[in-house]
Amino acid sequence: MTNNWIVKIGLASCGIAAGGQKVFDAFEELIEEKNLDVELRRTGCVGMCYNEVLVEVFSPAGEYTCYGRVTPEDAGEIVESHIMGGRPADRLVIPAEDIDSFMSGQRRIVLRNCGVIDPESIDDYIAADGYRAIETVLSGTAPEAVISEITDSGLRGRGGAGFPTGVKWGFARDAQGSPKYVICNADEGDPGAFMDRSVLESDPHSVIEGLLIAGYAIGAEAGYIYVRAEYPLAIKRLEIALVQATARGFIGENILGRGFSFDIVIRQGAGAFVCGEETALMLSVEGKRGMPRIRPPFPAQEGLWGKPTNINNVETLANIAWIINNGASLYSAYGTEKSRGTKVLALAGKIARGGLIEVPMGTSLREIVFDIGGGISSGLGFKAVQLGGPSGGVIPAAMADTTVDYESISQTGAIVGSGGLIVMDESACMVDVARFFLHFTQDESCGKCTFCRIGTLRMLEILEKIAGGTGSPEDIALLEGLAAGVRKGSLCGLGQTAPNPVLTTLRYFREEYEVHINAKKCPAKKCQALITFEIVPDKCAGCGLCAKNCPAGAITGEKKKPHIIDPEACIRCGLCRSLCRFDAVVVN
């Protein structure tokens, strides 16, 4: 127990994007200037992204205060009022009830250390039970026993496919050939998913420990971590963690003197969504174009450099040490019969408390959106959630009692996927959402399979037609036919699932497509070709703010007289509407 003040600041990417580093620097300067006995610590992401920048203060007596949306200017107030004066700066304190409702429905296993420890300190990780599991495993647990423990836990691959992890490890262990490899798939490419980034930035050692245990279990001697180049902070913290773990003897020759040797190399993905698919990923590690190949042979038989290889996702690996330390039965006590344990979800979109959460499998969407997420942020009605990214689908608000587990979500036509959960309000247009995802998959298709390469392009063209007001009634059947073709005619999971966003929006929001096609209207007022901006003369004060800022120069008018938008020149960016202080700009 320390008897000085502790100030912790969340410095994962989201915290930094909100200005966390500047807040950290401001505290550092103040503490030095006033010569205070305060320990300033860096930590990762606690998940409350909606309240970034987060500053936690622990008094010498152990009292805890959490401040939200702190700016560098607020640092002085917190230091003077709270640390020097003993009175918390109430204005900035996040109410305890708010934290409680965000946290109480959660069970944090993967995120156990996120936002708690300093991700750049191996001592912090070790103090939190870190590297105890690898020690246990190396002191006399047979690899087969490790595999059966993981199998018993019921853990399934968290990257999207949901294949039982222990069974996968067993295949690689039983495979003939050497050397064997393990790969951590950190090529988190789903738009709307940031759980892997957050874990790598907040608790990199837990992933490394999971990879070590996987390596020992299957008999591998080297591991790769394949991480997106778009995640520079995750890469930096992994590099720091690898150096530290090597220096402490957890990586390298004869680990902990137990005869097990293992090396880990980081490989940066170069920006190809398809490289999240395991066979494509391995080719990319080999330095080639990442294009999926037919399976079998599975990676467990013929993987990296043609050798037996086991690939697991970041979240899967971050569970491993916890399961070894706490036992398979404690893990499998969470969740449903077929989907054990917990799932990390990235909550974003029109949600009040967006961030990173971890819930037991079997938690309903309603509990996630309303109890944990605090409901819709915009004041509009809840329309749908999108789960599973470009491979997933849309689930309407009417089905909010659906529980998050592999089986229930599959039944809706969506997938749990990697866990990106985007909440949509009534301002979301479902044709636009489908078009958005098809644009993504079409862009990212590697081009190997004809149906994925050309079929998704044809689907996108039809969606653009519909969104552009030139759709025809037979387009819907055409879309469905193409969707069936792409699903059947694609080699890898990404192509096979690419039609899901279209199929689910058609299944639950067919009438919205029909209105676009028949009435040439976008009910959500989102599709730019189907809307016009207009100034209501009675409300317009003629301040000229819109005209001054209009990027297209489409607004004209005399000072203090109502202005007019030229519909031909208007690019429908909506800037005028968001700038207008008199609510004079309307969308039709």
Binding site: S13, I16, G355
Partner: protein, 159 residues
């Protein structure tokens, strides 16, 4: 981004990078990444140099360079704007931000302005979905962005 062109520093850095990576199998991508970090893009000469020293054909290396979104064959503008195209950003209006920025800079996504001042890139999800929509301007992330805030961030760079 401060970067030198292949013409100004010659090819010595390229050779040095290739030489260092050659000790490891399958290191073409990391070597290309480092070359791009030094030069800001992949100079055509680098493709031929890698081909010579690895025995992999230049067309195959060109295939790798064009397959991955990260690699560029042309130098970047002085100011690089990356517009996040994640789902949350899309829902919260990233397209409008993109249109707005295109009209004030005069270039579309994926282009560099003639005077070399701006490059606008469209990037896959930056993973800051809770702060959407977000854009990076010269690698600094701007979250919770509005079209007007985007305009003012970019207008500042025009002065």
């Amino acid at each position: 981004m401060e970067s030198s062109t292949a013409e100004s520093t010659g090819l010595t850095r390229i050779d040095e990078i290739i030489h260092r990576h050659n000790v490891q199998l399958g290191a073409i991508i990391p070597a290309l990444q480092e070359i791009q970090e030094v030069y800001g893009y992949i100079p055509p000469a680098a493709i031929f140099r890698i081909a010579e020293s690895t025995g992999v054909s230049a067309s195959e290396i060109y295939g790798i360079v064009t397959f991955y979104a990260q690699f560029r064959l042309k130098p970047l503008g002085k100011n690089v704007i990356k517009i996040c195209q994640g789902t949350a950003c899309h829902l919260n209006g990233s397209e409008r931000i993109s249109d707005t920025l295109s009209s004030i800079t005069g270039i579309a996504e994926g282009e560099t302005s003639q005077d070399g001042q701006f490059t606008i890139e469209r990037v896959a999800c930056l993973g800051c979905c809770s702060l959407s929509p977000c854009v990076t301007v010269n690698d600094e992330i701007h979250g919770r962005l509005t079209p007007e805030a985007a305009v003012s961030a970019v207008r500042k760079l025009m002065k």
